[in-house]
């Protein structure tokens, strides 16, 4: 258990059951759990260190539930996030409609948060093209418009998962270094910063 700081807050957003938890599970624990769907309750936090060009960056990942019940409270999970991975299920077009909702929220409240749009369960459309309900090019156009990064992943096979988080970490290093340095440093006992020192007890 070594003391480690969380450098960048990353939040997983998207409709229930699109595969946010599976994505985190694949990235952090390198596995895919089959079995009955277990919806996330509230939100789960996990810290993960990642290497970017020889530098260690610790991502603090918030996996949210995506259910309407917690919508009013979702701000606490994405406030101050450096990156949001907004997921939709490639086989469910309604889940893409929810992406737009989250993107709006982020644009309104978190202007410094970079947005990553992620189409999940690519293994399913790989096996059977007719299952695809969301066209890649349509989403690409949308992503360009909002200046978001786009990828399609499968937590089942692991395809493109590490690359996604690697990109998140790289972008954090490349784009936010100067920002952090210009932030005034001082001790404010009353402020509750999300990015205070945190011990990472995960591998």
């Amino acid at each position: 258990m070594s003391g480690q700081r969380v450098d960048a807050k990353v939040v997983m957003l998207g409709k229930e059951a699109v595969g946010k938890t599976s994505l985190v599970e694949r990235y952090v624990h390198h596995r895919f759990l089959q079995g009955p769907y277990q919806n996330t309750i509230g939100a789960a936090f996990v810290a993960k260190a990642i290497n970017v060009g020889g530098r260690n960056v610790t991502l603090g990942i918030w996996d949210t539930a995506g259910s309407e019940r917690y919508e009013a409270m979702s701000r606490i999970y994405y406030r101050g996030a450096r990156a949001a991975i907004v997921c939709y299920d490639l086989t469910d077009c309604s889940s893409f409609e929810r992406v737009k909702f989250w993107v709006n929220e982020l644009q309104n409240f978190e202007e410094h948060c970079r947005i990553y749009i992620c189409g999940t369960k690519s293994d399913l459309v790989e096996n059977d093209k007719s299952l695809r309900q969301v066209d890649f090019h349509d989403v690409q156009d949308y992503a360009d418009e909002i200046k978001a990064h786009l990828c399609e992943t499968s937590s089942k096979t692991g395809i493109s998962v590490d690359e996604l988080f690697q990109k998140v970490a790289e972008d954090y290093v490349n784009y936010s270094d100067f920002q952090v340095q210009t932030e005034p440093k001082g001790v404010d006992l009353n402020s509750r910063k999300d990015l205070t020192s945190y011990t990472c007890c995960h591998h």
């Binding site: 952090v28 919806n39 509230g42 789960a44």
Partner: protein, 537 residues
């Protein structure tokens, strides 16, 4: 129903004299319990950590300034006939035919001492579309006052929507008394309604539970829903739109409610409205408590260690008390989802008995999976995750540094004790609840109760006896229940509740003897079996 009390071969008042003990005994010298609350084995030495909870207090007490409930239906409604008619309509929709349901030959409550749960005989090769109905002993539905479905235990949505109208017609009789409990018996089913505005909860069952027991379970479901959305939000939503569809907001939580209903069939905690305490040597427990106490944060209200649905220790903010119902809901939440197994969860939870109007944020993290040890910390500040997470880190560090961790894990891996340790040959199982501490202790369910079917059967016997002991019209302090598979002695005093299960070969006098030996054993072991002092940060 009342008639079965007389028909039974029970000794009731007679037993009291042989069981009573000298109330003047001093706690420390006396192996036998005094009948004064606060002196019984397991009573806390200072103040208790839980809010005092009486059986059925929610059913009889006033709730949020509303009209007091009046349990029972007897003679209070003139339209009884109409209700019965409506119910027949309902039950024909529930059953394929009423004759079929007669064939189930459910034993009448007065002779069902030990009948196994009614087994559903399938007519040869015939499959009825609604056979699911028979396979389940207890259906539970939640509706809004406008009749919109909110929850259905077995997802029998179709049946629910086709019966919702009838149910609502029935519920309209409750209009006058907002918190009334109503029940109807027909066709071998008991239908119990509990109304807690803006929700109506209905159970359709063929178990031997009393109406009060069933109503209490329905209230748990009500509190479960409140804990997901808060009472304030619930009222607000339905005030704005009486036809609001709550299912959208509850989506994904069905598993939590299902799990609660399933647990109530197998876990006597709910029945006793008390918290099961994990047996632990006091030195180890104190050390664990100390670690929780030291890791404090301004926003923390409760820090709890639990293992396998049992309380290891609890530290609370000064002057703040948790209610057993709230802790049951917390335990149920964490065990109903595997989503808490990894990392750290930070989840809004309303504790309906502590404060129904808002959410607390609960930090949930497993300290160990095998043996299971879970840390729950309830915070008032939703922004405080990292502070609270830091408390977990401190707790772990301290447990390890003080050498508590390894022995604690060892103790947790065999936390269930065997009833044989008590050394009473005919004794098979028992539940002992200390009323002043709201904690109870119970040995492992060993053979012959080591199968799920037998466990459920034993718990349903306990439920049945608990229901009889607390029956509002005929409360009993002692019941000796003789059955073909076991005899059970129930003894309810001001200070404790005891349900003791003996082999069917034993006699009444050996049971009485066994009970006083058991109480002496509990007294001797109380430091281990109970949490005798309540700790604050």
């Amino acid at each position: 129903m009342a008639s079965d009390v007389d028909k039974r071969s029970h000794w009731e008042t007679a037993a009291a004299s042989s069981l009573s003990v000298d109330p003047g005994n001093d706690r420390s010298d006396s192996p036998a319990p005094a009948l004064i609350q606060g002196m019984e084995p397991g009573a806390s030495q200072d103040e208790a950590m839980f809010v005092h909870a009486q059986s059925y207090e929610d059913l009889t007490g006033e709730v949020e300034g509303m009209e007091p409930a009046s349990p029972g239906l007897e003679g209070q409604i003139e339209n009884m006939e109409e209700i019965t008619q409506d119910f027949s309509k309902l039950s024909t929709q529930l059953s394929v035919s009423s004759s079929h349901s007669d064939e189930q030959s459910r034993e009448a409550p007065c002779e069902c001492g030990d009948s196994p749960p009614p087994v559903i005989q399938e007519a040869d090769g015939e499959l009825h579309p609604q056979d699911d109905w028979y396979q389940h002993q207890k259906h539970v539905f939640v509706l809004s006052e406008a009749g919109k479905p909110v929850y259905s235990r077995y997802r029998s949505e179709e049946a629910l929507s086709s019966t919702a109208g009838v149910m609502m017609a029935l519920v309209s009789f409750l209009e006058t008394e907002k918190n009334a409990i109503r029940s109807i018996h027909a066709d071998g089913y008991t239908v119990v309604f509990v109304r807690r505005s803006p929700l109506v909860l209905v159970s359709v069952s063929h178990t031997r539970q009393s109406e009060q027991e069933i109503a209490q379970e329905l209230l748990y479901i009500y509190y479960q829903i409140v804990s997901l959305v808060t009472l304030t939000q619930l009222h607000h939503l339905f005030q704005q739109r009486p036809s609001y569809d709550l299912r959208r907001l509850l989506s994904g939580s069905e598993r939590i409610t299902d799990n609660l209903l399933d647990s109530m069939d197998t876990d006597p905690s709910f029945l006793l409205a008390s918290v099961r305490c994990l047996p632990l040597t006091s030195g180890l427990r104190d050390a664990a408590t100390y670690c929780l106490q030291q890791a404090k944060a301004k926003s923390l209200v409760f820090s709890i260690l639990m293992s396998a649905q049992q309380l290891v220790t609890l530290v609370r903010k000064k002057d703040q008390y948790l209610h057993p119902i709230d802790i049951h809901l917390l335990f149920n939440l964490v065990t109903s989802s595997s989503s808490f197994r990894e990392g750290e969860a930070w989840t809004p939870v309303c504790l309906p008995k502590f404060n129904p109007s808002g959410f607390f944020h609960t930090y949930i993290s497993y300290l160990s999976h095998k043996p299971e040890l879970l840390l729950l910390m309830v915070s008032t500040d939703r922004e405080d995750f990292f502070t609270v997470s830091n408390c977990k880190k401190k707790i772990m560090e301290r447990l390890e540094k003080r050498g508590t961790w390894t022995p604690l894990k060892e103790a947790l891996s065999n936390s269930l004790y065997d009833v044989a340790q008590v050394g009473i040959p005919e004794l098979r199982h028992f539940l002992y609840k200390s009323k002043s501490s709201r904690l109870f202790t119970s040995p492992a369910m060993t053979a012959p109760y080591n199968t799920e079917v037998e466990q459920k059967r034993l718990v349903s016997l306990y439920q049945y006896l608990h229901g009889r002991a607390h029956c509002s019209s005929h409360p009993l302090t002692t019941i000796y229940h003789i059955g073909p598979q076991e005899n059970i002695l129930a003894w309810v005093t001001e200070a404790f509740e005891l349900y003791v299960c003996f082999s069917p070969l034993g006699t009444k006098s050996s049971a009485v003897n066994g009970v006083s030996r058991l109480l002496r054993w509990i007294r001797k072991e109380e430091e281990k079996l109970f949490i005798l002092s309540s700790s604050t940060y």
